[in-house]
């Protein structure tokens, strides 16, 4: 399977990829994007099986990316990995079509809990 990791921080992308590995998801191809716009383009170009996206990014935010994907008819499984985990944001994410929201800081267990139903 292919996972697209979108975050404007290269350091955080590396941490997310490392945590995926620690959670037991180390056999998947990983593609990176540095903002929502690049993520949108890479969903079209790379056809990932899952998108893990930050929320607050320059150019295009994660929620804008998700809404653009759904408006274009893409149903790619999409989850947020973001520093803000308020109830309001979780509700906004869910209503836009996100499967989950992982709040930073996170643990491999938190990743596994939400990824197991998606990646098996």
């Amino acid at each position: 399977m292919k996972i697209l990791v979108a975050d404007d921080s290269r350091v955080m992308r590396q941490i997310v990829i490392r945590t995926l590995r620690q959670a037991g998801y180390d056999g998947h191809d990983v593609v990176e994007a540095q903002d929502g716009r690049e993520a949108l383009e890479k969903v079209a170009a790379e056809a990932p099986d899952l998108v893990l996206s930050d929320w607050n990014m320059p150019e295009m935010t994660g929620i804008e990316c998700l809404r653009a994907l759904r408006a274009a008819g893409s149903q790619v499984p999409f989850g947020f990995v973001t520093s803000e985990g308020s109830d309001d944001m979780r509700a906004t994410a869910a209503s836009a079509g996100a499967l989950f929201l992982i709040a930073k800081p996170f643990t491999p267990e938190a990743f596994d809990a939400v990824l197991a139903p998606v990646l098996g």
Partner: protein
């Protein structure tokens, strides 16, 4: 409408958030130790990373530490080997992300909707000034590190993060 942030966010909560950030991102054995005396004596080359929170309460969450400690923190976040070369951009990115995660969690404690800015990084004196709501003088791996929550006048959310322009501040 204004918000008394000191009622919602105290030093203990910020320390809990920072402790979780360090153990999750820097490593499970990494701890922040409150210093018995304050203020912490930061080196002249200190770097600050901050995020602005804009809403009924406007302020900044600021992380400040010496350039060498920022580099060590970057190495910890990336699990980079001692001999692996890191760039100034890596340090800016890492310190900014630490401020971003602490700031996002602080924002989650606020009862009213707010906007979180993108992280910014500069030399220690460049961080937003304002009334100090929370000031934590800490030690990480024996080196001083300060975390503060400051009320500021609304100035707009800026971004994205950029490295300091003074090459002397770069690792």
């Amino acid at each position: 409408m204004s918000l008394d942030v000191s009622v919602l966010v105290g030093a203990e909560q910020v320390l809990d958030i920072a402790g979780d950030v360090w153990s999750s991102l820097a490593g499970p054995e990494e701890v922040l130790v409150p210093l018995p005396a304050s203020p912490a004596h930061l080196p002249l080359d200190a770097l600050s990373a901050w995020v602005l929170v804009l809403g009924p309460w406007s302020g900044a969450v600021v992380v400040t530490t010496g350039a060498s400690t920022a580099l060590e923190l970057t190495r910890a976040l990336l699990r980079a080997a001692d001999d692996e070369e890191l760039t100034a951009e890596d340090v800016t990115d890492a310190l900014g992300e630490v401020a971003n995660v602490v700031g996002g969690n602080v924002k989650s404690l606020l009862t009213a909707p707010s906007v979180l800015g993108l992280p910014q990084v500069g030399h220690g004196m460049e961080a937003p000034t304002g009334e100090v709501v929370v000031q934590l003088d800490l030690s990480w791996r024996g080196q001083p590190l300060c975390l503060s929550l400051r009320s500021t006048a609304p100035t707009g959310v800026r971004g994205p993060r950029t490295p300091p322009t003074d090459p002397e501040g770069q690792p």
